[in-house]
Amino acid sequence: MKAPIPMHIPDGFLSIPVAGILWLVSLVFIFIALKKAGKEIGGNKLPLVGVLAAAIFAGQMLNFSISGGTSGHLLGAALAVLLVGPWTAVLIMTSVVAVQALVFQDGGILTLGANLFNMAVVGMAVAYFVSSLFRRWFGNSRWAILLTAFAAGWFSIFIAALAASLELAFSGTSPANIAIPAMGGVHALIGIGEGLITLGAVSLLMASKPQLIEQDSKEPVKSSAVWIAGLIFTAVLLVCSPLASSKPDGLEWVAEKLGFLIMAQDASYHIIPDYVMPGIQNEALATIAAGAIGVLIVIAVVTLLARRGKLAENK
């Protein structure tokens, strides 16, 4: 049920400034979502978002075996975005992540703001950005919708993981050259599970209730702000992560200047701020490689689906 490397950051892992700032950012997004989600699903129906959140929570416990005891499972941000729209998805993921922290201790209380940011805000915005981009590129055919579902799932996980690892690095908990390749690499793989489950779910919904998915493509609510936020998150995190992991000292320097490193007050830790990683000489390469492998897999799935789609259409 658990990811081998947790996406839910526990208490004590983030410095107070990082945790505080992300609390603020998340709260702003959640307040906007409370205003906007009413338009997506009808104001009086808003409390029912809680029931959908319960379903996503339960859905996160679904898994399928990959190999050797590892399993693929669902986070659900992308699925929620595809099904009910971005702002409602923020509220769904907020409820899920908050209950996980408050009842099941998955993720801390002080770090809840950061976890909300990664999973509800970044996950949602990236999924929305990727899905609307792919819809624009590939149109509204069956294979395009399935491809969109996979891509939105994969990217939402991968980018959210990069955000989490940058936060850890900024807090001085885990140096960037360790956190980013580890989190990024693992979640590039976990994202495949997410993408495939999202794809499977969307394909079932298309078969049984096509209006749910097709209605979405007309985009009754224009969410250009979310689109731009998604673009920024994706671009910044994709560019920053390899940079940060190749120059962890640089990140630490920035964090120190901004006063983010309250946590790492150990003197010897400051005197020797550079790290060695035996075995892996070039960490930027490692991250880029992980990203590239992920992108290759996405492309492979695209071609495969495209072929299948063409075959089906020819029949």
């Binding site: 490397i5 150990d266 790290y275």
Partner: protein, 273 residues
């Protein structure tokens, strides 16, 4: 295949002083404990011990089995350990050579050892206290307290409806998983070979997630109709409003924060010395 998630939900029935305490106070207590732990410097062993003592006293006051609480926190600590442990060997510092095996030098740095041990202790303290507070507070009370602390009403309604249907939908999911296990794709750790190809298993699981969502959408439509039938007008009523806090309670909350701040100051002073 019960997932055990229901057992992991933290509330444990009881009637101790902690159970009866106002949830707003417990939230204040939790937040001041967590903030204190977060602000403590690396290697403040004495203060860690003090905090541990406080945690233990609080756990005893809850009249719940302390071993169960400690164990819960320990289980939650494992992933943290897995993340931190590798850093012991990867970071530069004053390396202590542990042993040499066939020419490979195994060494770790003393400063990382201090840092990682501190992080582990602090996160264990935080986890222990969170486990304790959520074990003595029902989610409904927690929600009412958060509402009193400024959680928007709509968000509180969403949380409340989620909580009401969470276990219903988890059971629904468990029935689906059982149906799958009895037919085809055996889940992980069952000792049997999973059926079908990788892609097929993924698609089946996706189909289950989709079906669960579809059923939930239909269910929420029924819930909405039922709410309308009972006179729902856009406002979910969440039970009684909490009484205003007494001065004594407010003073107690302030005292907790001050105690935390004092501990942080002491710890910093000791480290500086």
């Amino acid at each position: 295949m019960p997932t055990g998630i229901v057992q992991r939900a933290s509330y444990l029935r009881g009637s101790s002083i902690l159970h009866r305490c106002d949830a707003r106070i417990k939230i204040a207590l939790l937040i001041s404990f967590l903030l204190t732990a977060a602000f403590l410097p690396i290697g403040a062993w004495v203060v860690y011990a003090l905090m541990g003592g406080l945690l233990l006293v609080a756990m005893l006051a809850s009249e719940l089995p302390v071993s169960v609480l400690l164990q819960r926190a320990l289980v939650l600590e494992i992933p943290i350990l897995l993340v931190l442990l590798p850093q012991l060997f990867l970071q530069k510092g004053n390396f202590v050579v542990l042993t040499v095996i066939k020419g490979f030098q195994i060494s770790f740095s003393m400063s990382s050892l201090v840092r990682i041990t501190s992080l582990l202790i602090r996160s264990y303290l935080s986890l222990g206290f969170t486990v304790l507070i959520t074990a003595v507070t029902r989610f409904e009370d927690l929600l009412a307290a958060m509402r009193a602390c400024g959680l928007p009403r709509m968000l509180a309604s969403i949380f409340a409806l989620m909580w009401r249907y969470l276990f219903v939908l988890i059971e629904e999911m468990e029935r689906m998983t059982q149906a799958r296990a009895s037919r085809s794709a055996v889940p992980v750790n069952s000792g049997m070979r999973a059926g079908g190809s990788f892609g097929w298993r993924a698609q089946v699981t996706g189909g289950m997630a989709g079906a669960l969502l579809l059923r939930t959408l239909e269910r929420s439509e029924r819930i909405y109709q039922a709410m309308l039938a009972r006179g729902y007008d856009g406002e979910v009523r969440l039970g009684h409003a909490s009484e205003p806090l007494t001065w004594g309670q407010k003073a107690a909350m302030l005292l907790m924060l001050l105690m935390g701040a004092a501990l942080v100051l002491i710890a910093n002073g000791m480290n500086g010395a």
